[in-house]
Amino acid sequence: MKDEFSELENAWSAGQKKLAQQQPTFADMQQILEQRKSASRSFQYGTLAILLFTLIGFCAFFMYVAPVKQTMSRVGAIAMLGGLTIRVLLEILSLLRLRRISTLSNSKENTKNSIRFHAFRVKTQSIYSPVIIAVFTVGFYLLTPEFVDNLSFNMVLFIDISYLFIAAILFYVIRMGVKKELQNLEEWTDLLRELEAD
């Protein structure tokens, strides 16, 4: 058994020498690192940027394009902006949790932190996001009476019906997100089980 394992160690060592021939030059590696560093940054902050952009867009809309006057419309606008603000805060919290996952810690700790992160993502996607969309939707329809006063009925009808399609797409995207996060959570949990098993 010992001799057999020594053979495997030799094969492993020989394999490393062969694979070393694939090593990119340091100059090539430096270039790759620069490209990948910026790509990873934009990926992490992408969702937050989109949400912030949407929030700023809606704020600008209610401030400059359609400053609503009726109480019901104001409640609607607050519900929409409030919902979006909470979603932005949740995304920031999620990024902070992601930062806590450190590849410098041991694998068990790293796995546990990853489980915590994905559990939070599942909660965000399956509970908070649908509630936020529901509040946003109620807020959106509370604007309808005041819009009817300022726009043609057909135009308002078109906007209200279009929103239903957008909401359906959003729910579908969230559902897919929940599925993905649940799968990630399951895989990390399996990994922890593997690590802790004898």
Binding site: A11, G15, A20, S105, S107, N110
Partner: protein
């Protein structure tokens, strides 16, 4: 900055083959994924080199980053559950000896953590260090290594019988 860059270059020259081999074995011979993950490892090394206090050896520190980065590529690994078929093809691309190729194929049939453990054992890393990297008890690791060696032996035996 100049000194850090020099140290990083030395680390890169010395440890890239080790990092790439672990990624290559972990991802069952998927060369592209192994390359991507190795690059990811070196990004993390570059970003954190200043934080390295020398509490462990640099090799152990790099191992820890490599192991965690491989485990973190959960989706990449799952997408490649059926990738065992690719192993032969990719190994032919790199033109490995038959015994080496068989070893990678056998390692690829183990589960995720077993793959990483046996690769560190093959690198002749101390059990105490491996246990620290994984965050598990040394006694637990010893049991695991014993079990993995038996499993690996059986897989290799089956592969020999198939020929």
């Amino acid at each position: 900055m100049g000194q850090i860059k020099k140290t990083f270059e030395e680390i890169y020259q010395e440890y890239y083959p080790m990092v790439f081999q672990i990624c290559f074995g972990y991802f069952r011979g998927e060369e592209e994924v192994a390359k991507d993950t190795s690059q990811e490892v070196f990004i993390i090394i570059w970003k954190n080199l200043k934080k390295f206090k020398g509490e462990s050896s640099i090799k152990t520190w790099i191992y820890r980053i490599t192991v965690n980065t491989c485990l973190g590529q959960i989706k990449a690994d799952s997408r490649r559950k059926e990738a065992l078929n690719h192993v032969k093809r990719d190994h032919r691309d790199i033109n490995l000896d038959d015994s080496v190729s068989k070893l990678y194929q056998a390692i690829g049939q183990l589960n995720k953590t077993d793959r990483l453990i046996i690769m560190m054992v093959l690198e002749k890393e101390k059990q105490k260090t491996i246990a620290e990297i994984l965050g598990i008890e040394e006694t637990n690791l010893r049991v695991k290594i014993h079990r993995i060696k038996i499993k690996l032996g059986k897989i290799l035996e089956m592969m020999r019988d198939e020929r």
